[in-house]
């Protein structure tokens, strides 16, 4: 009885903590792409699975790839997907729906940028179905990170109080229950059923890209994670093709050394794993128009029409492998 009396306040605290946390998560965390994408790769098998960052999210149209290659395709790329996230997404997919081939998009900024945003990873973890992979992912990310983000994931969105109403509406809707893509359509960009982000050609952000000094010595963690991804695919017997999506010519001209160094780095990594590397950024491609009008910003996020043309070129190159 004494022990029960002692533990009671602690138990009450824990229950209330979990409850309030649950409510805050519901209210503050918006409906985001990873929820749909992770559910898709956990429940469907694809011959080709595209993984990577926001660049491939907009640049690669799985429908066009499919119709050219004859292989089913899904675009599981999303912004803030670092190599470690890619690893766990693939591990999650392979639990029961192993993909036939991986098209891994390499954005040098993600290797150079050591500052992984744990809040985003935390969301990826949250979206996964309970499994040993989810536990491993959580352990890999959470132990080194602030305990508040690990235990209270809503703090990544604590400033977004005016989004609460919309969040709660979506979470009561059919789209939420069926992992629908309708809430992502905001008139300027929308996500397709195959996972591509289609950006309207009217969209353009002229801000110059924020490219850090390319110094691979300082981002060993990200490089190690990338190698873990490639070794995992090798062990599972899944072929990999590494792709760097095209960039505007003016960005390439302004940062030639950066993309030169990035190309060299990935060339070496791909060679060491005996993997094909298709780099459409480094020297451009004569089949593609790299004028700025094809992009929604100088970083390289493609408009939908340009993305379709690029996807056709990529599919043709994949067919020759």
């Amino acid at each position: 009885m004494r022990i029960f009396k002692r533990l009671c306040p602690a138990a009450v605290f824990l229950i209330l903590f979990v409850l309030i946390n649950f409510l805050l998560n519901d209210a503050l965390i918006p409906y985001q792409y990873p929820r749909v994408k992770i559910h898709t790769i956990e429940t469907q098998t694809f011959d080709d699975l595209v993984v990577g960052t926001s660049h491939s999210f907009s640049a690669i149209n799985p429908e066009i790839l499919s119709s050219s290659t004859g292989r089913s395709c899904y675009n599981a790329s999303v912004g803030s997907q670092f190599p470690r996230d890619t690893l766990y997404l693939l591990m999650d997919a392979c639990r029961s729906h192993r993909p036939g081939r991986i098209i891994l998009e390499y954005d040098p900024a993600y290797l150079v940028d050591a500052d992984r945003a744990f809040v985003n990873e935390r969301y990826f973890v949250q979206c996964m179905a309970p499994s040993f992979v989810k536990l491993k992912y959580f352990t890999d990310c959470a132990l080194d990170s602030d305990f508040r983000v690990a235990l209270m994931p809503w703090i990544g969105h604590r400033g977004e109080l005016n989004g609460i109403r919309r969040n709660l509406q979506i979470k009561k809707s059919d789209a939420w229950k069926k992992y629908g893509i309708e809430p992502f359509d905001d008139g300027r960009q929308r996500m397709t059923q195959q996972g591509q982000m289609r950006i309207a050609s009217s969209e353009f952000n002229p801000a110059p890209p924020d490219l850090n000094q390319f110094s691979p010595d300082e981002i060993q963690d990200n490089l190690d994670d990338l190698n873990r991804v490639l070794r995992f695919c090798n062990r599972e017997g899944i072929p990999v093709v590494i792709v760097t999506t095209p960039i505007p010519a003016e960005t390439r001209d302004a940062h030639t050394d950066y993309y030169e160094a990035a190309h060299k780095l990935m060339e070496d990594i791909a060679a060491s794993h005996d993997i094909t590397f298709l780099d459409y950024a480094w020297k451009g491609d004569s089949r593609l128009d790299d004028a700025t009008e094809n992009y929604s910003d100088l970083e390289g996020h493609m408009h939908e029409e340009a993305a379709d043309r690029f996807s056709a070129v990529l599919a043709a190159d994949l067919n020759t492998l």
Binding site: I20, D144, D146
Partner: protein, 494 residues
Amino acid sequence: MLSFVSLGFILFFLLCFAGYYLLPGKMQWIWLLAFSWLYYLLAAGPGLIIFLIYSTAVTWCGGLFAERGFKAAVPVTLLLDFGMLAALKYTNFLVLNLNTIFGTHLSIRTLFLPLGISFYTFQTAGYLLDVTWKRCKAERNFFRYALFVSFFPQIMQGPIGRYDRLSSSLYTAHSFDVNRFQRGLIRILWGFFKKMLIADYAAQYVNTIFDPASAFYAYGIFGVLMYSAELYADFSGGIDIVLGAAEILGITLDENFRQPFFATSITDFWHRWHITLGTWMKDYLFIPLTLSTWMGRFGKWCRKHLGKTTGRAMPVCVANIIVFLVVGIWHGPAWHFIVYGLYNGLIIAVSGLLAKPYRTWKKALHINDKSNAFHLFQIIRTFILVNISWYFDCSETLGQAFRMMRASLHAPFFSVTFVNPEAPGQCLLHFATILSGCAVVFLISILRERNIDVRGRILSLPVSSRVVLLLMFVFILGMLGCYNDFGGFIYANF
């Protein structure tokens, strides 16, 4: 890795705590040693633990030899112990200065600094001297001694412990005590409060202003005030977590802070700030230095040539300046740290020399030095002097410190949104959080200065109120607390 604010550390500590109270009393210290070494392996990496073991072994042996009367034990051990610290921390500084002065071209190498080396080196040296001066007996059991050296809550940023005091609680059996657990927990949460609501936000201002290439270097006065908030909240917050964690395990560590900004003089400040460093310097450097033979001869010379009053104070002044020179060097291998130390040392030395004249002047001016007004004057004066010293502590070079001090005299008015002009609302919120946090700390400090047991008062509230308070507190840390994915503490790099 395993920063105090990480989930990993919390789980690590919970595991330690659970096993600790499930084990029989005799095994508890062994469990702590295992966790302390494990903590060091995880936090610092397997390569660096050899340095910790090295210092442990060298000073343990040194203590045993010193107790047996081997005269060489102390100098040899101190050389080996401090020598390692000097080699790792100060070699590059020495090389750079030799190159500058003598035009040599010696190369510098990237040297790693083992976690906590500045703290455990001093702690082990203190043990050796205590044994030599018969203040405590040498510890015969290597592993018991190893726990004293590596006890994980204090390894990263102190407090610098004394063997005679620590051994009374470190090795004894402890049974779980709810009250002690709650007190420790409150202390840990208080540390998180200071770190997350004050230190991390203030750091953004300090880093922006004191960046060597900063366009805002004229905001020095605001910068040092923010640094006062940041350094105190970060360091004392970290120490609160350390002491709270130790308290939960039934172990009493020495206090390191005692409302330092209520100090009435620089001397008093160093009795309230980083207390264990100050007492270490006093007991192991200042006093032996002052009482040494050659200092005695110097004192005689001073009395002969400078008169009795100045003569008796001079050895103490010189010793004091030397001690603060060492304090400056302890902070880091750079000239601005040395000047930081000397600045403090000189102020104390001069005020010591002028103690008698001060008394005469105060009498002549009819100043009542027991009045509240004078007390307030002393506090404000000390606060200003301390903030000036931060120019030297915070800048990366001496040149930068002086440049900023000059520019501070012509500081323009500015809005606090300069640190992130694209998000002014956020800046204002963060700044308001700093001010509110400081206000809370100030109130608690006043209560603590009057020896009011704040934690006791909280624990006397009904259980339901305490549960609600705890929930509110945790969610305030989430809602308002600064977060980033690094969570490092300033003094964890020493």
